[in-house]
Amino acid sequence: MSGRIEILYFAGLREQLALEHESFELADNIDNMADLLNALRARGERWCDVLAADRPLMMAVNQQMSTPGTAIKAGDEVALFPPVTGG
């Protein structure tokens, strides 16, 4: 599925990646959040470390909490963040 999505990064994740948000072009082989995470990890060592599979990570698609299996498509807003600590 191709087209662009908006990716937002919050809290510690934003600091570690030094990036608040970006417009990301979806390659044809990216259908869900797991595919997206793999594509981001492929960017290099820092991305691979910060988004490592054994690190706690939460995510949202179009402002709804989601999981790696959640499908994504062009035009979506996706957010990646550490486990929440509100309240």
């Binding site: 937002l8 919050f10 809290a11 510690g12 706690p56 949202a60 402002q63 709804q64 909490m65 807003e77 957010a79 963040f81 550490p82 486990p83 929440v84 600590t85 509100g86 309240g87």
Partner: protein
């Protein structure tokens, strides 16, 4: 159920929130209210706590939690006010107030909403001391508290 969900930087007055829930109604039997505060560090060295949030998502996430509670208990009203920005020790962070006909629904749903808010509302806390700042880590006990509702 009516709701009043607010995400704001400014402080709130729990008494005024309760008054506004009661206003013009005679059908409410119980109002339960929880207020979460900024607690100092054991060595009393917290300079401030900063709350970051995901603006486009927070209000809707809190509203869905309130609606989830209403599916489980019959509620008359839910108010949730959550602050963001820079707060000091003893400052108020969050208010959850629930109105119901009887106390059991009010007490239990108030706790339910807090347990779901702690694990599902997109806020992140950062603590600052004279030595610098660090992000607060999520607690396993919060996840357990939420899971407890899923078993019942």
């Amino acid at each position: 159920m009516t709701t009043d969900i607010r995400v704001q930087a400014g402080d709130f007055d729990a008494g005024k929130v309760i008054d506004s829930i009661r206003q013009g109604r005679t059908d409410i039997g119980a109002i339960a209210c929880f207020v979460g505060l900024v607690r100092d560090l054991p060595d009393k060295r917290l300079l401030h706590m900063t709350l970051e949030h995901y603006p486009a998502m927070t209000e809707q996430a809190l509203r869905e939690i309130a609606e989830h509670a209403n599916e489980r208990w019959h509620l008359q009203h839910v108010s949730v006010i959550h602050r963001y920005g820079e707060l000091k020790p003893s400052d108020q962070i969050v208010l959850v107030s629930v109105a119901a006909e009887h106390r059991r629904a009010a007490f239990e749903s108030c706790e339910f909403i807090m347990d779901y808010l702690k694990t599902g509302a997109p806020f992140w806390k950062k603590e600052t001391t004279e030595y610098g700042s660090h992000w607060v880590e999520a607690r396993a006990t919060d996840t357990e508290s939420r899971r407890r509702w899923e078993k019942d």
